[in-house]
């Protein structure tokens, strides 16, 4: 089959970018979109030209490394699939595909389709964990977790941090990503002690990274290759609000200046 690619080429963050057209006659329906890019790159290398830079690793939809826009859709046309899981049989013979990077202020472009998503790591670093050192744990079966609760935690924990939710959002919000981790840990008894603190710190970290706010456009849920539900954002808002109202993080240690005389009631 014939597939034409219009690929965003940009040498570096400060340089101008543009779409460049590549036509391949070697496409076949059983080939994945990334394999087609491999073939195009092989041809470019043979001509001594710089190949198209794009990220990918596991090529089975679990590592979250790959991801770009295909005809305006994050990860392309399929529900619940990452870019590496898109095969050419999803397109028609003669189609032209526009490939461009995930765009967001918090995801600076590195080259062509490669972006820097380390802002997502910094959101996790702010509180997306249970603070337990190795060696601290009690016997595993001492905690009891309702099966459906464990399943809900797992649904949220399935996030692969690809950034599609951000790219699809009109506000470039990372609410689905942040909400997913808050929900995953908040559903489990092990995550309960830090639930308020976690919500507060992660939400603040996301804001500090120049991600936008959530206005419930819902585009993230559609774009998510793991189909993480919008409810995780509701959960995040709930936990954040509860943390603010309870005064989480505002408690000051009691301090009495030495030499202060006794006050009688």
């Amino acid at each position: 089959m014939r597939i034409a690619l219009e690929v965003w080429r940009q040498r570096g963050p400060g340089e101008p970018g543009r779409f460049v057209r590549y036509e391949s006659t070697q496409a076949s329906p059983d080939m994945s979109l990334l394999e087609l890019l491999d073939v195009v790159n092989e041809g470019l290398v043979q001509k001594g030209e710089e190949p198209i830079a794009f990220d990918s690793d596991c090529r089975e939809g679990i590592c979250g490394t790959c991801g770009f826009m295909v005809n305006g859709l994050a990860h392309g046309p399929l529900q619940g699939a990452a870019t590496c899981q898109v095969y050419l049989r999803s397109f028609r013979d003669g189609d032209t595909l526009f490939l461009e990077p995930f765009r967001a202020k918090a995801f600076p472009l590195i080259k062509d389709l490669v972006i820097n998503r380390s802002a997502l790591d910094r959101i996790i670093a702010a509180g997306g964990y249970v603070s337990v050192n190795t060696g601290n744990a009690p016997e595993a079966n001492t905690s009891t977790i309702r099966k459906d609760r464990a399943e809900e935690a797992m649904d949220a924990a399935a996030c692969i941090a690809c950034g599609a939710c951000v790219a699809a959002c009109p506000n470039a919000s990372a609410a689905l990503f942040t909400g997913a981790k808050i929900t995953h840990l908040g559903k489990l008894p092990e995550g309960e002690p830090e639930r308020a603190r976690r919500a507060l710190r992660m939400v603040q970290a996301a804001a500090a990274e120049a991600f936008g706010h959530c206005t419930f456009a819902g585009e993230c849920e559609t774009a998510c290759p793991k189909s993480i539900p919008l409810q995780v954002i509701t959960q995040m808002n709930h936990d954040y609000l509860a943390a603010r109202l309870s005064g989480e993080g505002r408690a000051q240690p009691r301090h009495i200046e030495p030499g202060t005389p006794k006050r009688r009631r």
């Binding site: 059983d30 596991c58 590592c63 490669v114 050192n133 190795t134 099966k147 924990a157 941090a161």
Partner: protein
């Protein structure tokens, strides 16, 4: 050199306790004076870096992904073993130990394996405490499933994404330490050489993959957790970027490489569909619980599977191994599939495939039950192949999946270079000649959370490495070597891409040192690989420059190392004149075609020493079996 595994004395159950007590300690206030460099951020690397950080060491974690969470541990599906005996089915540390030693076809160290089984208990405790969402029963307790090579249910799992959830636990622990300031991370940074100064590992040379800058990292101890080398074969279930450069460079600097020919081939992967295919996808072993494997009785049968009547099908696993049938172990099932394809009875467009048929199971249980059990796998298969496995049998074929071999380490996970520790799949340690399902995750986390942090601390306390910085000549030399290697690749200006050479090397390795091996084939590979390597350096084309993001340059450097490693894999396979686990030498088989082990001559670890400009030297570490006496594996 005498290879001392440094196994503690005393009976097996006391060895680890004894060693932990023997370890020297660094007091909490002194730990921040030591710098530990961890290369790799998968299960072993992330868990080690996080734990060392929690203890108070100054840790730097270097990895080539853009985030530590993308390491290939993330893709592990099935589960993690632990001898919890929650099912009350007779499991114990002793039994997990026995199963692992036997599963490895008696080519692993008893002491290491026993410790692994012991530590498995604490791994599950720790992961649950971290918030890993393991599958639960309705009563709220942890669920288990069964895996190959065991008669008990001891595998813990989180749907088909166990590796992902365990890695996220370790990743979160790592980022917590980043936030606390004990660990620094260097993403998109690839190790290109090890620095050995005054006989001790003191740092690495690495390339910033975005700017192309060559950087040096200085440390008091270096921990490699850089995974396996299966991508030498080009097509595998590994991630595209998994590579052997870190361990190969350490090997060239003096770390012995052990049992490189012990590679695992997984029987149930989606077959190659075309020549542009970039990787192979695993279909979980669990499918063989209900699927029946068959090929047409007659070679060259062109009919579609529905048209082939029952009498003209060969359910070859059920025929050859009546007692285990479709659930024969990985190495046995893989070889049997190859045998029928060699006879011209393979199916699909390439004739390299066999059917995995669910028609019987669907008739017996109904499509609903099958969907409930395997729905996500069926969907994945349909997505990749465009065929509906509910209606037509799946086509599967074996593929390279894991490497049991790796850098030689002693009981303390230290290589033959002082101060260089090797963890997880990158070392050779615990799986012998064949790894059991759900044991890789267990080993990575045992090494990273519970073993390396103590062993590294003890090394630092005893060795007290003197202060050093990158002005030391060893750093300058390693830097110069690295730059020269890069320059050589960029200067070749030939006609072919590095990956086209990789594909050629991979095919040669797969044909001569894949599922079955023989002397003639291995000798052929040993002449052809050096020729191919010469052509590579003459004819490779790497466009662009070194001082920017340049994927072709990354690939070319990795492929260059695969040539040397590939040669060693074949050399190791040639010297091991026996069949064991994943290593099947056609000359050494029983009359009915089963693996024939030779304990008298080959019960040793083959540890290879690199010699510049000469053949590598083989050192042997004898294996002694006291608690698990060797016996023949039979699945008939």
């Amino acid at each position: 050199m005498h290879l001392d595994g440094k196994i503690p004395g005393g009976p097996l159950p006391q060895k680890w306790e004894r060693r932990k007590f023997e370890y020297a300690l660094v007091s909490p206030a002194n730990r921040r004076k030591y710098r530990v460099l961890v290369v790799g951020s998968g299960l072993a690397g992330a868990s080690a870096a996080a734990t060392l950080g929690e203890l108070g060491y100054r840790v730097e974690c270097v990895f080539f992904h853009d985030s530590p969470r993308r390491a290939h541990s993330i893709a592990a599906q099935g589960g993690i073993n632990a001898a919890k005996n929650y099912q009350n089915d007779g499991d114990s540390v002793q039994r997990l130990f026995q199963d692992t030693v036997k599963g490895g076809d008696y080519r692993a160290r008893e002491g290491n394996v026993y410790r692994l089984a012991e530590v498995s208990l604490r791994i599950i405790d720790h992961c649950v405490a971290q918030g890993v969402p393991f599958a639960r029963e309705y009563g709220g307790k942890l669920a288990n499933r069964s895996f190959g090579g065991a008669q008990v249910s001891r595998t813990f799992y989180a749907r088909g994404q166990t590796g992902q959830q365990l890695l996220l636990g370790a990743y979160q622990a790592l980022l917590r330490q980043v936030h606390a300031g004990t660990v620094r991370i260097a993403p998109r940074t690839e190790m290109l050489d090890l620095v050995v100064a005054n006989g001790k590992a003191r740092g690495i040379v690495a390339r910033d993959l975005v700017t192309g800058e060559i950087r040096t990292f200085v440390a008091d101890a270096v921990v490699l957790a850089t995974g396996g080398y299966g991508n030498a074969y080009y097509l595998s279930t590994y991630a595209r970027n998994s590579n052997a450069t870190a361990i190969w460079r350490a090997h060239r600097r003096g770390a012995y490489l052990a049992n490189p020919c012990f590679t695992q081939i997984h029987p149930t992967c989606i077959p190659v569909s075309g020549e542009h295919q970039s990787k192979l996808t695993l279909m979980s072993e669990s499918l063989r619980n209900d699927g029946r494997i068959w090929v047409p009785l007659r070679a060259g049968d062109e009919r579609s599977p529905e048209q082939i009547p029952e009498a003209e099908r060969d359910y070859y696993l059920e025929r050859r191994y009546p007692s285990y049938g479709n659930l024969s172990p990985r190495d046995v099932a893989s070889r049997a599939a190859k045998a029928v394809c060699d006879e011209g009875r393979g199916v699909g467009p390439t004739r390299l495939g066999v059917y995995l048929d669910f028609a019987d199971a669907i008739r017996r249980l109904g499509a609903d039950v099958i969907a409930e059990r395997y729905g996500n796998l069926f969907a994945m298969y349909a997505e990749i192949t465009g065929e509906d496995p509910y209606r037509t049998p799946m086509r599967i074929y074996p593929a390279i999946h894991y490497t049991m071999g790796g850098l030689w380490v002693d009981y303390d996970l230290m290589s033959t270079i002082d101060g260089l520790f090797v963890l997880g799949e990158a070392n050779f340690s615990d799986h012998g000649a064949n790894r059991l399902g759900a044991s890789a995750l267990m080993q990575g986390l045992a090494d990273g959370y519970f073993i390396a942090p103590l062993a590294v601390g003890s090394y630092l306390a005893r060795a007290k490495p003197p202060a050093i910085d990158d002005a030391h000549p060893a750093f300058a030399e390693a830097r110069k070597d690295t730059l020269a290697r890069i320059e050589r690749l960029l200067a070749a200006r030939g006609k072919r891409s590095a990956s086209s050479f990789h594909r050629e090397l991979g095919k040669l390795l797969w044909d001569t040192c894949g599922m079955s091996r023989n002397r003639a084939g291995l000798e052929r590979a040993l002449t052809q690989i050096p020729e191919l390597r010469e052509r590579f350096y003459r004819d490779v084309l790497v466009p662009g420059q070194g001082e920017s993001l340049n994927r072709e340059l990354e690939t070319a450097g990795r492929v260059a190392d695969y040539f040397e490693l590939g040669e060693l894999i074949c050399r190791d396979a040639l010297q091991r004149e026996e069949s064991c686990g994943g290593h099947f030498r056609e000359e050494y088989q029983t009359p009915d075609g089963e693996a024939l082990r030779d304990d008298e001559h080959f019960a040793y670890v083959a540890a290879w020493e690199w010699r510049e400009g000469e053949s590598p030297v083989l050192h042997k570490e004898p294996l002694v079996f006291e608690a698990a006496p060797p016996m023949q594996r039979s699945y008939k």
